[in-house]
Symmetry: C2
Subunit: 163 residues, 2 copies
């Protein structure tokens, strides 16, 4: 009897969490894309530049693909457009002539700085909308959520009857 209640509680919580995850993934993406539209960047393009921005000596194409969870033909297309806009360079690596080295240009770094400033204003607005006690926990909770999400195994196949 008590077990039944617990099971239902867990299921209500799960249903809520599923709805939240969907809204979160959908809404957050729209927000980020809206922010980036001002700079004529797509989210995958920004993601790529962000990875380059965090490091210091550039990345190979496969490192970029791995870090952004993309396939290599996808990466090729994204970097094509960034090169065309002069935001990154893509040059052959002299130590391994198969590999390419992608790096931010000065213009790319400058654009990232402009975006950071914009983002920071937005984030400050966000934090100010929170109560002080909410502000203390929000980062830790989001990080924990993300870590558990990323740690869970990917579904490989459909669960069949009899759960």
């Amino acid at each position: 009897m008590n077990e039944m209640i617990d099971r239902n509680d867990l299921d209500n919580e799960a249903a809520e969490l599923e709805a939240l995850a969907l809204r979160l993934s959908w809404g957050l993406r729209h927000r980020l894309q809206q922010q980036l539209e001002v700079f004529s960047l797509t989210l995958p393009q920004y993601m790529t530049m962000n990875i380059l921005h965090r490091g210091s000596s550039g990345c190979s194409m496969s490192e970029l693909a791995e870090a952004s969870n993309q396939l290599s033909p996808t990466m090729t297309g994204i970097v094509d457009r960034l090169v065309e806009r002069g935001l990154v360079t893509r040059e052959r690596d002299d130590r391994d002539r198969r590999a390419l080295r992608v790096e931010l240009t000065d213009e790319g770094r400058h654009l990232m700085a402009r975006i950071s400033k914009q983002k920071r204003a937005w984030t400050r607005g966000f934090l100010q909308a929170l109560l002080p006690e909410e502000r203390v926990t929000i980062n830790a909770v989001l990080l924990r959520f993300l870590e558990v999400v990323e740690a869970l195994p990917a579904p490989v196949d459909e669960i069949k009857a009899g759960e």
Copy 2:
């Protein structure tokens, strides 16, 4: 002096939060798409079916577009493919011959049930990976985060020098 420290604290927190939001939007979307791939559905397609599933009497095309934050030509394409797969119907509304009424078919409802079962297994795994005290707060924190994100005004233009 104290103000300087507070300002830096706020900025560190903001930088962390920005990184988290990016990872969250990116990672969560990949996870959801991975889940849906098993059923040969894209996230926008699932989003659309999910909106229809929550209501009872179907939606017009513009209601769908509004609820999923999409433009109407985008909606047309998504619904085209769902109709083609027999997951929804799209029929003229007799009371307003300009409008269309989109509804889930039995097959569509059946697919949603299969997806729900799969999702539930995944979500239970997620909740079990959390500590009991984390489980109590996670939903509330995510909801609050989402509400504040959605309430913030969209950026219309770039912030210029002098912040």
